[in-house]
């Protein structure tokens, strides 16, 4: 059942506090959905829960990906199933080079899917090609993962990981924040190059800016743990002018 991501009435707590208060959302294959909303509205929480980050309690609702309940799956199983999260705050791992990290991850996923591991030489070429697309220097592939990278480099590095792992659904959590206009364009081109009828995107952003480059099919506004409005790309443009002030907390 290739019906993409289907979230129904999702409730999520952190500790005692309810952060997501009933989210419903469907992202069909090939579609780009954007989620916008003020800070603290729960956007990252949603991304984390979909990808299985520990520390959140799902108190109700469901998340299915191509007909399979992902909430029952381990994070690495979700990854192998094609879910990818570009982190809002990319993580550093000292001593583990970008190349080693990506090779290990890719092969782990291929193994989990019953595919053969990639030949090391072929992988290197594959990796370099992808890096070139994102205008990442070869030298950065040899550096430890994100250690000493600038903010923009880290975000581009997340895009490199996406390009290499070729997920079915990529969740981009504020990949645009901290990027200057050139970096933004590079990232957007990277994403657009990956758009295909099989691949869908959930682009989380605070600003409309990114959506000038990655034109979404659907835009949702998330405020105070609820989706308060859904529309097309125009909605994003409207928000740019009005801001989020209209979306006051529900009573």
């Amino acid at each position: 059942m290739a019906n993409g991501l289907v979230i129904k009435d999702l409730h999520v707590n952190v500790g005692e506090r309810e952060i997501l208060k009933g989210i419903s959302l469907s992202v069909e294959p090939g579609k780009v959905h954007a989620i916008m909303g003020p800070n603290g509205s729960g956007k990252s929480t949603l991304a984390h829960v979909i990808s299985g980050r520990p520390g959140y309690e799902v108190t109700g609702g469901s998340v299915e990906f191509n007909g399979v309940d992902v909430l029952e799956m381990e994070p690495e199983e979700r990854a192998a199933a094609g879910l990818f999260l570009a982190f809002q705050y990319p993580v550093e791992i000292p001593g583990v080079t970008n190349t080693v990290f990506l090779k290990t991850a890719l092969n782990a996923q291929r193994k989990a899917r019953g595919e053969a591991e990639m030949d090391p030489m072929a992988f290197l070429k594959f990796l370099r090609d992808k890096a070139k697309l994102l205008q990442l220097r070869d030298e950065m592939l040899k550096r430890p993962l994100n250690v000493g990278f600038s903010g923009g480099e880290k975000k581009r590095n997340e895009m490199l990981q996406m390009a290499v792992l070729e997920p079915k659904l990529a969740i981009l959590d504020e990949t645009d924040s901290g990027l200057d206009i050139d970096a933004l364009r590079i990232v957007a081109e990277g994403v657009n190059a990956q758009r295909s009828p099989e691949r869908s995107f959930l682009v989380i952003t605070h600003y409309q800016r990114l959506l000038d480059y990655i034109v979404p099919d659907v835009v949702h506004v998330l405020a105070h743990g609820r989706i308060v409005e859904t529309g097309d790309a125009d909605l994003a443009r409207r928000l740019e002018k009005t801001g989020y002030a209209d979306y006051t907390p529900a009573a």
């Binding site: 990808s51 299985g52 980050r53 520990p54 520390g55 381990e74 994070p75 690495e76 979700r78 990854a79 192998a80 990818f84 999260l85 982190f87 705050y89 993580v91 550093e92 791992i93 000292p94 001593g95 583990v96 080693v100 990290f101 290990t104 991850a105 890719l106 782990a108 996923q109 989990a112 430890p144 993962l145 990981q161 792992l165």
Partner: protein
């Protein structure tokens, strides 16, 4: 008394055959249980040793009897019954005794094969490594001897060296680690059975990596090998040591001594991957690894570099050290020590700066998981004459789980203003974010831990020769199995 005299005589008869490698048909594979003058004489006789060596051993035994087992390390283990052990065990020869490595122990070989070590003869013939394998107490095979001898390199078992080059042995034995140095070294000096001997003559760069595999196999047996490496002026050698032991419920004692001597401009690189049996999850069984390793940089501009990856043993007590006597000499210590389950490790180094402008570097990475305790203990001492001495020490600990302990105990003693000593230590854990990132990218928790820990250890692992580095990386993963839930 009579029967043991008889044994000694029998052995004396048989030792004529020893220089060919192996005794053909020995009725007794073990020395009599327990430690006495008789045991020492038995071992010495079995090896047809010269009088001076027997005396040397007996002196060590006398010293040992007056010593107390050290208790300052952060390890605890039940009292060892030194009288309940065998101090010598030779493998029962299958046919005519192993002539090639293929005959050593298929299980051992397959273990190494699994770990990716090129131990098989054809790979050795490819010219990467020369191997000496010490099985229990006896060196069973030294490959690739001829090619080395062309260069004047002597690489053989210790026993063979005693027969072939007694003067060299006599000159250097105990010159770095004297008999009475410490309890375990002293015990070793009395009962050491075999080990490796390496001599690199003046100006020779040893054409290949030399390698020894140690294996404890027999039950209730202590292993006391002794390794001596001498690099003459301008010589270079890289020496690798690997260790395994089978799984046994009772503890096995390993008290080795390694002595290195580097003369002017010589360099010795000594790498160890220690994977003795660590005991089971509950701490039952496992090897007590009480090892004294010390190198003397006697010559000017000489260099000794220790790299160790310690993943095995129930208890490790080990401080590979450098005595930097020669001006401008260099000592290095790169260590990864991983403890899991009930393992305990108290390991580190001593850098004794004596000569001028001597330099030392210490990089220690300790990883503690399970209920284990992992201690770095290191001494940097700069004596008054060591002007211009420099040391840089970096000790990082990583804790996995909240039942383990990671400790850093550096001793820094400086007796001269014209030295620069820097020590840094950190303790941290694998962050939840790192773990989640790896899992989000498709790695299982165990793969994630192995990857992150390998990254943490990278500075050390990259000092290992290529073949060993691969093995070590895999070991890191294997030894941390079960450490994350």
């Amino acid at each position: 008394m009579a029967s043991s005299t008889e044994t000694v005589e029998t052995v004396n008869e048989l030792t004529g055959a020893y220089k060919y490698g192996f005794v053909t048909d020995i009725e007794t594979d073990f020395s009599p249980v327990g430690l006495s003058e008789e045991t020492v004489r038995f071992i010495s006789a079995r090896k047809n040793e010269p009088e001076w060596l027997l005396d040397w051993r007996l002196k060590a035994l006398a010293l040992w009897r007056k010593m107390e087992e050290p208790r300052w390390a952060m390890v605890s283990y039940p009292a060892i019954d030194y009288q309940g052990l065998h101090y010598y065990a030779a493998p029962k020869a299958k046919t005519d005794g192993p002539k090639s490595l293929d005959e050593v122990d298929p299980e051992l070989l397959s273990t190494y094969e699994k770990l990716g070590i090129p131990l098989k003869e054809q790979e050795i013939l490819a010219g990467v490594v020369a191997v000496d394998a010490v099985f229990d107490s006896v060196s069973v095979a030294t490959t690739y001897k001829a090619k080395l001898e062309e260069k004047g390199v002597i690489f053989c078992s210790f026993s063979e060296a005693v027969q072939r080059v007694p003067d060299l042995v006599r000159k250097y034995l105990g010159s770095v680690v004297p008999q009475g140095d410490n309890y375990f070294a002293c015990l070793n000096s009395a009962v050491f059975s075999d080990g490796s001997f390496v001599f690199i003559p003046k100006g020779v760069r040893c054409p290949m990596e030399l390698s020894t595999y140690f294996r404890i196999n027999a039950q209730n047996t202590g292993q006391f090998e002794r390794t001596l490496i001498v690099a003459e002026e301008g010589a270079y050698v890289s020496y690798l040591e690997g260790c395994t032991a089978p799984q046994r419920d009772e503890h096995q004692l390993h008290a080795a001594v390694v002595e290195l001597v580097a003369l002017d401009d010589a360099e010795i690189k000594y790498s160890t991957v220690q994977n003795w049996y660590p005991g089971d999850v509950e701490g039952k069984g496992g090897v007590y690894n009480f090892v004294t390793k010390r190198g003397a940089c006697r010559g000017k501009r000489s260099k000794i570099s220790w790299t160790q990856v310690e993943t095995g043993s129930a208890v490790t007590w080990k401080y590979p050290s450098c005595i930097l006597q020669g001006d401008d000499s260099v000592g290095e210590f790169y260590s990864v020590a991983i403890t899991n389950n009930a393992q305990q490790a108290d390991t580190g180094t001593k850098m004794i700066h004596i000569g001028k402008n001597t330099r030392s570097t210490i990089v220690s990475k300790g990883i503690a998981a399970g209920r284990s305790d992992n201690t770095y203990r290191g001494l940097v001492r700069v004596l008054a004459g060591a002007e211009g001495a420099r040391n840089y020490s970096q000790c990082d600990s990583l804790l996995i789980g909240d039942k383990s302990g990671a400790h850093t105990v550096p001793y820094i003693e400086s007796r001269t203003p014209f030295s620069t000593l820097e020590h840094e230590a950190t303790t941290a854990r694998i962050s939840d974010d790192q773990l989640f990132l790896c899992r989000q990218r498709g790695l299982s928790p165990e793969e994630a831990v192995a990857l992150i820990v390998n990254g943490f250890c990278k500075e050390v692992l990259q000092n290992l020769p290529m073949e060993f580095a691969v093995e070590a990386q895999k070991l890191v993963g294997i030894s941390l199995e079960g450490s994350v839930g």
